[in-house]
């Protein structure tokens, strides 16, 4: 096999791509004997050390650290670095590129980012969810940068005819130490491209003390490389504020049509009949097309309905309102009766009965009836469906022509879109191109490429005319993949000292797996693993059960997913136990968690551990304790609070990170809630881009406040009752805390890196509800809080 010797990724051919792909695939298939300069000995060792694969090795198409795939240097010195993950506000286009730039010694001001198309065989996994991008690609991208640096140094040594050990890289140039001669990256570009890619084992990664961008705080970046504030500019920062940033709807193609689809209000309903006479009278309407309905489990197949295709967006929207459609709800079966009020009662009944046992330690029943049982406490917590509702509604452009499909979309999982379009149209994956635009938010919704399949189907039906499928906000809210709805019932047994000696938790909520197969009604290992069976408490009897809860709408990922209800219930209940025991909440929580120890996730039975190696990523109660101590000390826990004001605490570990939140909240006599301050302590291990960590925590705080305070999706007769931001509310600036303070701990290389996009959200709602209790004595057990605090 020949290796790509050019450092110019932009000119790498598809052939070379495929060769790399084969290597990468073989690794996963267990094939041997393909090792070349591209495939690194260390990688093989790692891959065959044991059968089970974790983390980045377990992801479809894995990863690559080949610099030829990611880096090219132009003869003017500009360095183009490919970002292969979806950018949706988490800043990955800046952060991953920064890692490469730092390791290779590139000057940030000379770095250009190129967004990868969907091509996992070439780039490694591109599915941007699960708070995984940095934790899976930090190390490969460091090696990419280091390998590029080595190639530049090799080239310089060759030019000077000196030993490579005598040369070193400073900022965008290579220096011959004995003579102080320099060669710029621009001067070295062509020769460096001919150098052999060094094997990983030979790479010298920078020491953390040598980093210029990675892990630096605002203001801590070196002179001369920075904008006014002294931090690397976000890659898209200027384009965003000038309106130039390109999102999914901003690609314009010649002759492009716009489609607005009216989908069935009830999941799996079909079209009985429709009348498009009036719709077709609207100026600009080109066609009205019926699309097939779906059956459960529908996975990512579009819901069907009637598409109005027009010359422009307004014509499509206007005409869609003029359609007369009679829906066939009989096809939807039970879904047509879905009623959120009745369903809550169903869940409430379900958690009264024993459910499928998820974890059982000690004997809860025995403890409950033992002489040491001094007090029992019971509470149930309800959390409704939610809609991700990113500010950019779903949008995709497709052109299907001459046996090829070209897609432009804001999408979290581009490869899934590519493979899906290929399957749908009977094309080979290599004949499908998916261009990835910026995402105007994702939050899990854009992991489901249904809207892309709609566009592909329509373009195919329209003889290859390019089509933009434009979802409206109503579409987004009414035909979503909703966050689950949940009822969590907890029972606690306290001894005469108030110590918790028994814990029973029954958690019922429809499962995302209902999208993909027969609905058992039970949540899956990965869902239970989001804070339910991983409850980190040191209690002798723990009984966790999962009663069945069937799905009647599409259930999907929503930022932090099942961690939301589990953290809300567990962290609220912990505060309730503390209150019943008459012990300070923080102290009680620390006692529940117990001493600092490293719990192997395998020891709790069925485990998921976010796909990470349980030997490496243990459940570290010491880190939980650290974030509690940090958040409470910064918030001044224990101080005397003014009237009507209280501090509330919650802690949760998810996506292998640890986050504690303390709110300072006021509930006025009239029942108005004022959030004065949030102190958020986060331990995600090594911090690559501290300011982005902070902004993700701030954003998670605000989204958590949406979830706690105002957001709710309900169904009646199978249809979603909310339709736009007037009745599906999300947090506005008036709901944001007056101050948010983020404190990050354990920024060190000896703890494994955790996620950052999602783990900030789960502790927010319980911390806020605990603060409300501290301020007013009112205990919230149903979300959203909405008007529950109002006194008149």
């Amino acid at each position: 096999m020949s290796t790509t010797k050019t450092l110019n990724a932009a000119t790498a051919t598809e052939n070379q791509t495929v060769q790399i792909a084969n290597v990468s695939r073989r690794k996963f298939l267990g094939g041997m004997g393909m090792a070349t300069g591209l495939v690194l000995a260390a990688r093989w060792d790692m891959a065959f050390a044991e059968d089970a694969k974790y983390g980045r090795d377990a992801m479809p198409n894995g990863w690559t650290d080949n610099p030829n795939v990611f880096v090219s240097i132009a003869t003017d010195g500009s360095v183009t670095i490919v970002n292969h993950r979806a950018e949706m506000g988490q800043g990955i286009r800046t952060s991953l590129v920064m890692v490469v730039a730092d390791e290779m010694g590139a000057d940030w001001n000379k770095v250009v980012v190129e967004q990868a198309n969907a091509n996992e065989p070439k780039y490694g996994n591109q599915n941007t969810d699960g708070s995984r991008s940095m934790r899976h690609f930090f190390e490969p991208m460091r090696r990419v940068g280091a390998a590029a640096r080595h190639m530049l140094e090799q080239a310089a040594a060759q030019v000077w005819n000196v030993p490579v050990s005598d040369v070193t890289t400073t900022i965008h140039q290579v220096v011959h130490r004995p003579t102080n001669r320099t060669l710029s990256f621009a001067e070295l570009a062509e020769l460096a491209a001919e150098m052999k890619v060094p094997v990983a084992a030979s790479l010298q990664l920078k020491q953390p003390s040598e980093w210029r961008y990675i892990s630096k705080n605002p203001g801590a970046y070196p002179e001369g490389t920075t904008e006014k504030t002294g931090q690397p500019m976000a890659i898209d920062g200027r384009d965003i504020v000038t309106g130039k940033a390109v999102f999914g709807a901003d690609v314009a193609l010649d002759g492009m049509l716009v489609a607005k689809i009216v989908r069935p209000p009830v999941y799996c309903a079909g079209v009985k009949s429709f009348d498009a006479t009036e719709a077709k009278k609207v100026t600009g309407v080109v066609d009205v097309i019926e699309l097939p309905s779906v059956q459960m489990p529908s996975a990512f197949t579009p819901l069907g309905g009637i598409a109005v295709v027009a010359e422009n967006t307004w014509a499509a929207i206007k005409a869609s309102r003029a359609l007369k459609i009679e829906w066939d709800n009989a096809k939807a079966g039970d879904n047509a009766n879905y009623d959120s009020v009745a369903y809550r009662q169903q869940l409430e009944a379900a958690v009264q009965q024993p459910g499928k046992v998820v974890r059982s330690e000690g004997d809860f029943e025995q403890v409950l009836h033992s002489d040491s049982a001094n007090k029992t406490v019971e509470a149930s917590y309800y959390m409704p469906h939610l809609s991700q509702s990113p500010m950019e509604p779903m949008v995709a452009i497709a052109q299907v022509k001459n046996g090829k499909a070209e897609i432009w979309a804001s999408v979290q999982n581009p490869q899934l879109a590519k493979d899906g379009v290929a399957g749908q149209l009977g094309l080979k994956p290599e004949d499908v191109t998916v261009h990835c635009t910026l995402l105007g938010g994702g939050f899990g919704r854009k992991s489901k490429p249904d809207y892309i399949f709609e566009a592909a189907a329509l373009s195919a039906k329209l003889n290859g005319r390019p089509v933009r499928v434009q979802w409206t906000r109503e579409d987004d809210i009414q035909q979503g993949y909703y966050h689950t709805v949940s009822l969590d019932r907890l029972e606690g047994v306290l001894d005469s000292n108030g110590k918790s000696i028994g814990w029973r938790h029954r958690s019922a909520s429809p499962s995302i797996t209902s999208l993909f197969g027969p609905d058992s009604g039970h949540t899956a290992v990965f869902e239970n693993g989001m804070g339910f069976n991983t409850v980190p408490f040191d209690i002798p009897a723990i009984q966790l059960e999962n009663p069945a809860a069937p799905a009647h709408v599409r259930i999907g990922w929503y930022r932090a997913v099942y961690n939301l209800p589990h953290a809300f219930a567990i962290q609220s209940f912990a505060a309730e136990l503390a209150h019943e025991a008459g012990v300070d909440h923080k102290q009680y929580l620390l006692d529940l968690i117990g001493p600092a120890r490293k719990i192997n996730p395998t020891s709790i039975g069925e485990h998921w551990n976010y796909g990470e190696n349980p030997a490496e990523y243990v459940l570290d109660t010491g880190r939980l304790r650290d974030v509690i101590e940090m958040a409470t000390s910064k918030a001044g826990w224990g101080k005397t609070m003014p009237k009507n004001r209280g501090l509330g605490l919650a802690v949760h570990n998810s996506f292998v990170s640890y986050v504690a939140v303390v709110f300072d909240a006021e509930v006025t006599d009239a029942g108005e809630l004022i959030i004065h301050r949030a102190d958020i302590a986060v331990d995600c291990g090594p911090q690559v881009n501290p300011d982005r960590i902070r902004s993700q925590m701030e954003g998670a705080c605000v989204m958590g406040i949406s979830n706690a305070l105002v957001s709710e999706i309900t169904a009646k007769n199978g249809a979603i009752q909310q339709s736009n931001f007037h009745n599906y509310q999300v947090a506005r600036i008036v709901h944001a805390p007056k101050e948010i303070h983020v404190h990050a701990v354990n920024n060190r290389m000896d703890v494994p890196m955790g996620g950052i996009g999602e783990p900030g959200v789960p502790p927010v709602a319980p911390a806020l509800c605990n603060a409300i209790f501290a301020a007013s004595g009112k205990r919230i057990r149903t979300l959203p809080i909405a008007n529950q605090l109002k006194t008149s």
Binding site: A249, L439, G442, S695
Partner: protein, 169 residues
């Protein structure tokens, strides 16, 4: 035929009068900086200035702009207040996904033009119509104060300076 001046350039548009300004800009004038978020004046993503006043372009028909001046995000780099706001937005690293930020900036510029030195409360009132699902509100407050050249208030919204020094080991 409708005649509108957008960022100083006059356009003659032969389109239905009820076309919202948003779609006239995006589909008929190929100006994509103004974003679609809700289509019913609930989110502010589509905010532009009509004769200097902030409006929701998704819910304002183009006929209403006949003979008037529309200013969009694309013109803010040429506007003295707009420039300051854009710079403050970059300095404070306000944007996450960035989708709402055209509208946020248009609302912030309108606020600062009518009230050059707003308080937090005035900011909250003026910006309450602009949703940011990424939750950048605290940085928006701070950036507006810093664009208004009010370091005192900007600092009140600041995060601790010493945040990332908690390195154990």
């Amino acid at each position: 035929m409708i005649s509108v001046t957008v960022n100083g350039v006059t356009h003659q548009l032969d389109i239905p009068e009820d076309t919202p300004i948003l779609w006239a800009l995006r589909d008929h004038m190929q100006m994509h900086g103004t974003r679609f978020g809700c289509g019913m004046a609930m989110c502010g993503a589509c905010t532009v200035h009509l004769d200097g006043n902030p409006i929701r372009s998704c819910s304002t028909p183009i006929a209403f702009a006949n003979g008037k001046n529309i200013t969009t995000i694309e013109a803010m780099a040429q506007d003295s207040v707009g420039q300051k706001v854009q710079q403050a937005w970059m300095d404070e690293a306000v944007a996450q996904c960035g989708y709402c930020q055209s509208g946020q900036i248009m609302s912030a510029v309108a606020l600062l033009k009518s009230n050059p030195n707003p308080t937090d409360e005035q900011i909250d009132n003026a910006m309450a119509g602009n949703i940011c699902r990424c939750g950048t509100y605290n940085r928006i407050r701070k950036a507006i104060h810093s664009a208004a050249d009010n370091p005192q208030l900007a600092k009140a919204n600041a995060v601790d300076e010493s945040l990332f020094v908690e390195v154990k080991a």
